[in-house]
């Protein structure tokens, strides 16, 4: 899908955490890239909110399991 507006929303598996959001940029036709700062180690649920060029709204969810804490040297 080209020309869409895609934002990402990351939620922790525990309640009470604020979601992390990120806007994406279309780096190639139909390919979108974003940088998200996942603020805690653990399992994250990512929801992609997609608004297509012709105004359709879509949502897709996927999981990132076992995010590790950042090493001290970054």
């Amino acid at each position: 899908m080209t020309g869409a507006e895609v934002t990402l929303e990351g939620n922790m598996s525990h309640a009470g955490m604020v979601p992390v959001t990120a806007a994406t940029t279309e780096v190639a036709p139909g390919r979108y890239r974003a940088t998200m700062e996942l603020s805690m180690a653990g399992d994250w649920n990512i929801t992609a909110h997609v608004k297509s060029a012709n105004g359709l709204n879509l949502e897709r969810q996927f999981e990132i399991k076992g995010v590790e804490p950042l090493a001290p040297d970054g």
């Binding site: 598996s13 309640a15 009470g16 399992d43 649920n45």
Partner: protein
Amino acid sequence: MFSSDQNSKAPATFDLLRVPVLGRFLNLRHARTLLQIPLFIISVAMILHGLFGPQLAPKNLATTYTWVHFRGALVFVLLFAGNFFCLACPFMLVRNLARKFFRPVRNWPRRLRNKWLSIGLFVTMLFVYEWFDLWASPWWTAWLIVTYFAGALVIDSIFKHATFCKFVCPIGQFNFVASTVSPLEVTVRDHDVCDRCQTKDCIRGVRTPEAPLVVIQRGCELALFQPHKVGNLDCTFCLDCVQACPYDNVGILSRLPAAELTHDPLRSGLGFLSKRKDLAALTIVFSFGALLNAFGMVSPVYVFERWLASLFRVNYELPVLAFIFGLFLVCEPVVLIGLAAWLSRTWARSGRSLLSMAARYSYSLAPIGFGIWLAHYGFHFLTGLYTLLPVTQAALADLGWAVLGQPHWTVAGLTPNMVRLFEIGFIILGLLGSLSVSYAIAATEEVKHPVRAFIPWAVLALIVAGAALWLMFQPMEMRGVSFA
């Protein structure tokens, strides 16, 4: 340090039931029901949303209300007031309604009239929480609430009195131990009035002369006879005794938190604390369970679990988790408390048995245990305080009734760094409480060498507090576990 005299309550200047408006409300005959109804409605909404709503924990009422707000509010109310969550317990609303239609006739089996079953259920609850990752599962959380309702209903429909509260409910046992450090207590205002009382309605219930077998107002269902009741253990703050007393002689009075643990009089409905090995074990599980529950939320636990899994050559969590629970809830307390009891007994040249020594001083762990629960639950509560709003907004919007507007997911609560200061404060407060209690016990019971008796228990409290502070500074991590 603490007065062990029952009459020490006499100079208390604060009585919650004398406070304008609030006191008047709590004195109402149906005050408990009025508090239970909103919590029951919220519970039903949580169950429905947990079963049929979005299965993402931060967006579901069941998980957000239960694991962030209910637990947090519970420990803060215990810290600043008393066991008011048992007062407003929605499970008892359903049970009370059921008892209008049929009355239980059986007594709870004599061999189960202790805390061993509820200790087992409390440990099971902690275990299931980790095994099923309850914090991440609206569906399982909803079933947990349903199980509580069903448990209270079934048990109290078969057995008389408040069997579920006194002998079964894990939340109740948590509240009983935690409320020993609460500043308020349901107790008599003037013991002289009780001495003159002939009817003992606070325990027997109110009856009319025309129908002496019919109780028109319950007395204490937990077998706590007010004139001989000491402290908050086993008290659900149901206020039945307040309603039953014909002399308006029962109040909710202020007192010195944790002082009830320092002396060992014969307690109505409980006996002597030093002889109640089950209550001592409950306090130990409460205190070390606080550490274990917090340990389950930090990164090192996952490293440890992976190492154990490779050691045992298993690729599923159950045996690993069972080992960790055995290690931290059985081996660790047995070794540490056993060592403290032996050193305390030897240095103080006490004539008490090792088990009696261990049981008596174990109660001094309640304040530090509560401090750790407070730090842990307080962290989630304060950092996620306002998430109540968007989750509620979203649930109502899903129903097509967006009266609170569209959800604002960016609101959270206090920053973790700010909350960390509170956490340190709670743990230090708990440590000071435990040190005070163990010294007071030593001063009362080991008159010749109180300091020698005290030192091993002080070191134990310091070890527990040190472990809690170490945990607090570990990176948090929340996830399900898979070794595959």
